[in-house]
Symmetry: C2
């Protein structure tokens, strides 16, 4: 059984203020917790029902994870989910997380994000919905996007809804916070920059490169003017809705990201 102070501590981590103070975040569910235990993240503690502990003894020992046995009613008291999972992890937020990295020159970019210029990366501008952000991390992970470059004021990576929606991808994708205009200015001319707009060249037929930065605009405002100026190729996802009935005005930001990166990857298969 968990103590009241343990329950209180875990519940505090649902709030950003306390995540910042304790430098910890929470994650729930078999797969997600296992992904985090197997990742470079440091686990402060795993709170789990006995059955989970018995089934995962080998992994727990191999990683030397502190485990606290909990009853189902304990899990009810600490969960953020509608139906609690048998396991919840408290995970340490890495040093430096949330620091806004500055890139005065291309060498500093190469040092902070090795190989950036040779691969495809996502740049997320002011994404505010945690579910969307988590889904984009999962998309990045699936399609082999290692770097996700975020604006300073986007949603926080360790928000429990981001962590859950990412389904473990939070452990495998490199998320960097920076001044997006600054890094694009620094990289100008050295890497193609793609953006998705409601007008442009069809993503299905335009030439696509094997490296580049794909900017995803915010749900509400799309890609801002100040970033649009750096876009070297405007992409458009054709719509097929009947114009008689009207049609969807846009796609969800994460969905648009998936359609675009899928097309980049299709070309090289």
């Amino acid at each position: 059984m968990l103590s009241n102070s343990q329950v209180k501590h875990i519940n505090a981590l649902k709030i950003k203020k306390y995540r910042d103070e304790y430098k910890e975040f929470i994650a729930e569910g078999n797969t997600l917790v296992a992904d985090l235990i197997e990742s470079p993240y440091e686990i402060a503690g795993v709170y789990a029902e006995s059955q989970w502990i018995v089934g995962n003894l080998e992994m727990i020992r191999r990683h030397n994870v502190p485990v606290f046995e909990a009853e189902p009613q304990d899990m009810d008291r600490i969960t953020s989910l509608t139906s609690p999972s048998p396991v919840l992890a408290v995970v340490k937020i890495p040093t430096g997380y949330g620091d806004v990295i500055e890139f005065p020159d291309t060498d500093s970019v190469e040092k902070a994000i090795p190989g950036l210029k040779n691969v495809l990366s996502f740049m997320l501008e002011s994404i505010s919905d945690p579910g969307n952000f988590g889904t984009m991390l999962r998309i990045a992970d699936w399609f082999g996007i290692r770097n996700v470059i975020c604006s300073e004021h986007g949603v926080e990576l360790y928000n429990p809804k981001v962590v859950q929606a990412s389904m473990g991808s939070v452990a495998r994708v490199n998320v960097v916070y920076t001044d997006l205009q600054g890094i694009l200015e620094t990289l100008k001319g050295s890497i193609p920059v793609y953006g998705t707009f409601l007008q442009g060249d069809s993503v299905y037929s335009v030439p696509l490169s094997e490296n580049g930065i794909i900017i995803i605009g915010s749900e509400a405002h799309g890609i801002s003017e100040k970033l649009t100026q750096f876009v070297t190729k405007r992409l458009f996802i054709p719509s097929f809705g009947s114009s008689a009935d009207g049609k969807a005005e846009s796609l969800n930001a994460a969905v648009a990201a998936a359609v675009v990166i899928s097309e980049f990857r299709r070309r090289i298969t």
Copy 2:
């Protein structure tokens, strides 16, 4: 200013029990409300700030919509959103909604869903997340999918989160609830049936038809055994994650639907 009974009625519609009782649902936001007013849906009432009313007089008159002027503090009391919009509509649920349609033979299918055999349609099995369901309606609308065939126990179309996530597509897509196994049995042999699995033929290279049913499985369980038996072509979305670090185990159901339908549509452009 709205009366207490108006506020109470609108807030009751956030709960399924009262949506069923009053046969009404709510929708918020400029674009969404305008889409619904312009659609065949019947509007029971629009609750809006004076500025919205002044800006939309022509549309209000053309559709003879009952309008109630509200103060910003009224909108605060009725909104389901984090930041209230200046307009909320109460919309009538069409007669027959939620009735589970039975299809004893192919003629009855053709009568209920005209042209089904000649077009691409989505079949959603037990989707339980309202945001995912709404996003899939928006994807269907964008990519010109007219029919979305849902299992009897999936999430409700008029859940406010579905309505909001659909961004107006709820007004343009034909959603049918039926026994999925029953309709597939009825249609057997007369239309290709596609399903997305973690193994199969790459969606990028397999032949795709211009008509068919694309089954999207539930987030938690994928496509069930009882529907899998009707799948005539198993599709697989290749992943590009590095195997050294592990990789995402799957894509979000709505994201997978988008990648697949995008590829169908790309082929015909």
